[in-house]
Symmetry: C2
Subunit: 291 residues, 2 copies
């Protein structure tokens, strides 16, 4: 029987810390504010928006919603993004991507003000992940996986970690973040030969392939901590399930995150934490500017 | 007896290709130009400058030297860097770092025009390495290691690669570049426990720890290709040697680069290749701009 690493516990601890930070900022006359910038009404976006709004409220962070119709012309989109980019009362922008096909997602990614890039999608945020500096912010899901390890006091330094996946939103950044904390990391991917032989050697396994139940018992070892980042539609269950075949794996590892209720429950807290951090950075820059 | 992967052969092949590219650019009225920007007279910098100048001449690339005294004031340094940043006749800038202590190396790194960052030190270049896009340029030494693998037709896709080292100039970028070419990569570092047990499993070993003769036979396997990136002063020999204990390792691996005469001989060719690529990019942007 594995220890079940529940995301709610992590999210609640993060929220408690954030409430303190928000109090301090408000005492200085700053209300950390997130702009949720959405084009159209995709169900996934709406679900994440509800979660983020709830977490923001719990932490005392203000949310402004900017919603554009799915057929918004490029020039209107650009004008609105530029406006929130420049608006000093907005500290973070969550821009749902990919955008509808007639809009240029890559250009939008580059247009986004890196100082407000709280979901870590601009080049400068990704450079920060690679160089381990506070340039922008890491992608929220990658940081959520790290927050779970930290919260449950799972040692990272000197440990072996295997990441299944190499995407820019999770696989590559979480690999870097683990290495910055002195883990020895291998990223497996679609061209890796015999993935289980590699992941079995790891103390920490991050499953982020995006394939339902693709991680089975033979990928693991009894001392392993398994973090399941997958969010997949499970036809059989009629709900979401992870990349890990939970029933098969859970009895045979040391600890594991459930899906739902694992990494996904922490992501929106990390996002709100970034908004607060962005507000703090603006504040220190402002104070430095006044000296 | 291992196959000895000589850098000269790779550099010569690169130069031959570059000569063609330079011909084409010159036919369009563009002479690719490198600015070597040096503060003071450090012997290492002077040695690299000589090598780069020679390679530039061989390829038909022009070199402009901008040399400032070791005690140049910050404002003069900034003014000169800004001037070459903006000079349209200069396509690439090689800025020797670290700068003397009274100058701000980190600020200089960020000031450098990313389009001219031919040694891959700015955040945008590093973001390009991480995201696998042509934003800026990868660090020359990391690309030199890859050029050697390519030139000698050493398969990378689906292979296991181990990198010893995680620096921003070589360990991390070469790990990323190997992964972008579908290798399964592990970066070992000072906090890795039992490095030999990990590197022994690799088809390709990149030694980039910067420690003389630290890689011995027990780190390798008989089918392994070893790329030695180390450039260390060898007291006993009275010359430079690599990270690999060559005499010990060479008889027991499939292929190996010597030091000197390996990766180091390819680096300046890669630099000159970047200057030509920068000139090409300016040229296509110019043509696109005129349409």
């Amino acid at each position: 029987m594995a220890r079940i690493l529940k995301g709610k516990e992590v999210a609640d601890a993060l929220t408690a810390r954030m409430q303190q930070d928000v109090e301090e900022l408000k005492a200085q006359g700053v209300t950390p504010t997130l702009c949720i910038f959405r084009v159209g009404e995709r169900p996934d976006d709406l679900a994440y928006e509800r979660g983020a709004t709830k977490r923001a409220q719990a932490a005392g962070v203000k949310v402004k919603n900017l919603i554009l119709p799915a057929d918004v012309p490029q020039d209107v989109f650009d004008r609105e993004l530029n406006r929130v980019n420049k608006d000093d009362t907005i500290h973070g922008i969550l821009l749902f991507m990919p955008l509808p096909k007639h809009l240029d997602t890559e250009r939008a990614r580059q247009m986004l003000n890196p100082a407000k890039d709280v979901d870590g999608c601009t080049d400068l945020s990704l450079a920060g992940v690679f160089t381990n500096t506070k340039t922008g912010f890491p992608p929220c899901t990658a940081q959520a996986a790290m927050e779970i390890l930290h919260h449950f006091d799972i040692p990272v330094s000197g440990k072996k970690a295997a990441v299944i996946g190499r995407s820019l939103v999770i696989g590559r950044p979480v690999g870097m973040m683990l290495m910055h904390e002195n883990a020895t990391v291998v990223n497996c991917h679609t061209r890796t030969i015999d993935v289980p032989s590699i992941t079995r050697e790891a103390d920490i396994l991050i499953a982020a392939a995006g394939r339902l139940h693709s991680v089975t018992r033979d990928f693991t070892n009894p001392d392993q901590v398994v973090i399941d980042v997958g969010i997949n539609w499970d036809e059989e269950k009629g709900g979401i399930s992870g990349d890990v075949a939970f029933e098969d794996v859970e009895p045979h590892v040391q600890a594991i995150t459930p899906v739902p209720g694992g990494v996904g429950s922490v992501t929106s807290s990390v996002l709100i934490g970034h908004v607060i951090e962005a507000a703090k950075r603006t504040q220190s820059a402002g104070i430095a500017g006044r000296v």
